[in-house]
Symmetry: C2
Subunit: 440 residues, 2 copies
């Protein structure tokens, strides 16, 4: 069979886009060999915002345009790669490509998590796939694993550390004793965090990825507003010290789990996980996702969760997948929702043990006041302490931490509202989940 | 599009074969939904050795035959799953299926490692794929990761713990202080080791898997006789104690690494790996493969390396892949060799540091004799010790261990021959690699 030349249109040529270009330059021949000479890939057009920005040397200036329509409509463009980010223009680009039956490769978790319903509907109507390995966990091929390798499995649980910036900050707070602000600044200085790190530290970047994993595993587009998300902004070194002493690591953990009634628990929040669990050794900007299927048993996928090259690696893998299908007119190999009655489990029905830190006025009797409320509501206490906080020696409030027995989160929430309403309370209590993460 | 019914022929219906049947029974509808209703899968015929053996209840007796040709030639069989093991009949089955243009799914690492050259040639000639996710690391989808997700990467290294039985034995020797024979017996009693555990403990099961990983990554069929393999039969608790004290874990490690001249290092042998490296926490019957690509960076795939269900999970994933291609007449999506000049690096040219244990007569002067030979040959010593061996308090030989600086293995081998020729030497020295396993 003669080699078919496949044209790629890039919408976005920033960090990841440049990585895709470089990877195809460096390994294009190898890719073609591996594809048995069925096709070769070349980038025909790229949309950017600033046409005057200096780009990598060997990319010719004719490649670039500021008009994404030129990319999508270009007659030699067969596959469109969306790497601009955001949920507006990116939506228009992906929608336009699908309507032209041009397969899409994207790294945009926000777009698919927020507007996946509309886009997958277009994907179905126009029988054209959207591939999104690059959107979850950078260079780790967990999307393909869940979608293809584990197609024969009911997925029971997935637990992921899927935001490298948060993970880096928590690790530095743990190993170097830095406070949150210092660790965040360090992450920014090292280029790990975005200039505006909001989505990283408020948990939403991880939550978007968790939404995509759940969508894949359970076949329905998960409404983001039904997903519980807390970031790491209120984590303090006293929390981490407490966890460490008890044999836990503090991680921003995304948990996805199907329940007996078929509804799906999906949440992202700071969690205590046992130091003996392999997820606790995922440090720095690395990501990991533990996946448990009814046949596969427990597996873990670990690697670089972001960055130019790892993310480009995933985008190029998807490009090759799209190219195979394109060359052979081989139908739709991408994901499509199939579960019409998919449901998110209300967060109030989820159950774990908890670590709760109360910030209260520093005066006698406050332990008793809180303990009374917990006792009256039947929430068991397995430990309590009022640790000295070296970060704030002169503050006029104190911290009270409680380890609480397993109960529904809804019940805990009601009780915590009462505690917060106490006169002595100076802030909303901070809640960490204590995760069991049993391995088989 | 109407749902197409795809018939599967099973050659072998033992542990894994039964798992494939059960998985399709349990999750067949889910698989069909995920495949957008493009096809449904059903098993039409199964070959076994003993027609009278009791099989799982809901498999009808008409399903079975002792004649594999009946399976392969069956008019309703579109895809053939080979799960009988061995390299003779299994070869005939796979070859016959390919010649009928029926895609093959197999879990047989011995077959592909020993006779892959012939089979991939048939795969090419008949334009029909062989899928073999189940052959490497049970339920861990590392084959698809390397073949598809990382298609855009030059693979730099892969390091794997890919034999669960050996890993279990080494772990028990480490954590429970068992000697090799006791740990092996325990593994057999628990059903982890085969009745004849030869391929597990002599390293060849892992080596077959390493050959397949190298074949995928570098595109040439690796001649098994060019691959260096040592098992765990001579590992003793004193070796493990020594390693532990120095901050290492002892693992049967398979290492694959491409060198600047393009030739590929492939070896399987007992190794010291730093306790700080994530591979050192792979315990029990779990497997893990660390893969480093030039774009992806370092990644790790971890999970159940064998067993009915995990291996069936991989076989079913491959079945779905084969079915997609079959339904859409979408050409060859399997692996084919592409590197005509692929070369294995001669083991003598590989370099690491080493731990060597000599078994010598228990008399004065032996340390000096060995140290002199090492010194004369310019092999640096970073430590030596003559540990007391609690397993053999009354023996008439003693153990001398040396930690040796990095040098080519060929050089070490020459020197060790001289040491072995000394009068005081009572056995061939035991060599462990000390692996660096740098993470990025
Ligand atoms: N960076 C990572 O490590 C990473 C990892 C995983 C996923 N992702 C995802 O990949 C996507 C791209 O990330 P990135 O880091 O590569 O972003 P980036 O460096 O900011 O690049 C964005 C690119 O899009 C262009 N662009 C923005 N708005 C445009 C518009 N309206 N019309 C035309 N071009 C426009 C920019 O043009 P200029 O070059 O002229 O500014 C730039 O080339 C995002 O969805 C992100 O979430 C990134
Ligand atoms: N078990 C694992 O965990 C695992 C993991 C990864 C890969 N694998 C690989 O998967 C393959 C199968 O392993 P397994 O554990 O399922 O083996 P198994 O339990 O021994 O099953 C072998 C099956 O093949 C049948 N068979 C053997 N010779 C035959 C012949 N000449 N004609 C027809 N049928 C024949 C046997 O028939 P009877 O039932 O009548 O004896 C049995 O059903 C092997 O290549 C193995 O290396 C196994």
């Amino acid at each position: 069979m003669a080699t078919q030349h496949i044209g790629i249109g890039m919408a976005g040529f920033g960090t990841v886009g440049t990585g895709v270009w470089e990877t195809l330059e460096r390994n294009g021949q190898l890719i073609s060999n591996r594809a048995k000479g069925a096709f070769s890939l070349s980038i025909k057009k790229a949309a950017v915002r600033d046409i005057n920005k200096k780009r990598i040397e060997n990319a010719p200036s004719e490649l670039f345009t500021t008009d994404w329509q030129e990319v999508v409509n270009h007659p030699e463009v067969d596959i469109v790669v969306e790497l601009i980010g955001g949920t507006d223009t990116a939506f228009d680009i992906v929608a336009a490509a699908l309507k032209l039956k041009k397969p899409v490769v994207t790294g945009n978790k926000a777009l698919l998590a927020e507007r996946g319903k509309e886009l997958f509907a277009l994907s179905r109507d126009y029988d054209t796939p959207i591939h999104f390995e690059a959107a979850v966990a950078g260079g780790i091929p967990v999307i393909k694993a869940v979608q293809d390798s584990y197609v024969g499995n009911r997925i029971e649980t997935m637990s992921g550390i899927i935001n490298g910036t948060s993970n880096y900050i928590l690790e530095r707070m743990t190993t170097a004793g830095l406070d949150y602000q210092t660790a965040l600044k360090e992450a920014q200085d090292l280029g790990y965090a975005e200039a505006d790190p909001a989505l990283d530290v408020n948990g939403w970047d991880a939550a978007h990825k968790a939404i995509l994993l759940a969508t894949l595993a359970y076949g329905f587009t998960v409404p983001p507003e039904e997903v519980y998300v807390r970031g790491i902004e209120r984590v303090r070194t006293i929390d981490i010290d407490f966890a460490t002493k008890l044999g836990y690591a503090v991680k921003l953990l995304s948990v996805i789990r199907v329940h007996a009634n078929g509804s799906v628990e999906i949440r992202t929040q700071p969690s205590f996980i046992p130091q003996s669990h392999i997820l606790s050794s995922v440090n720095g900007v690395f990501n990991a996702v533990a996946v448990r299927g009814d046949a596969s048993g427990e597996a873990l996928f670990y690697g670089r969760g972001a960055g130019k090259e790892p993310t480009a690696s995933s985008a190029v893998g998807d490009l090759v997948e799209a190219a195979y299908t394109f060359v052979h007119a081989a139908g739709h190999r991408g994901f499509l929702p199939y579960a019409e009655n998919g449901k998110v489990l209300p967060i109030d029905q989820t159950e774990t043990a908890y670590y709760v830190r109360f910030e209260v006025e520093d005066r006698p009797g406050v332990i008793a006041e809180i303990a009374n409320i917990l006792a009256n509501d039947g929430i068991g206490i397995s430990g309590t302490q009022s640790p000295v906080d070296p970060e704030h020696p002169d503050k006029d409030f104190c911290d009270m931490v409680f380890l609480l027995h397993t109960c529904p989160f809804g019940k805990l929430r009601e009780t915590l509202k009462k505690c917060e309403a106490l006169d002595c309370s100076t802030a909303e209590p901070v809640v960490f989940r204590i995760e069991k993460l049993a391995t088989d």
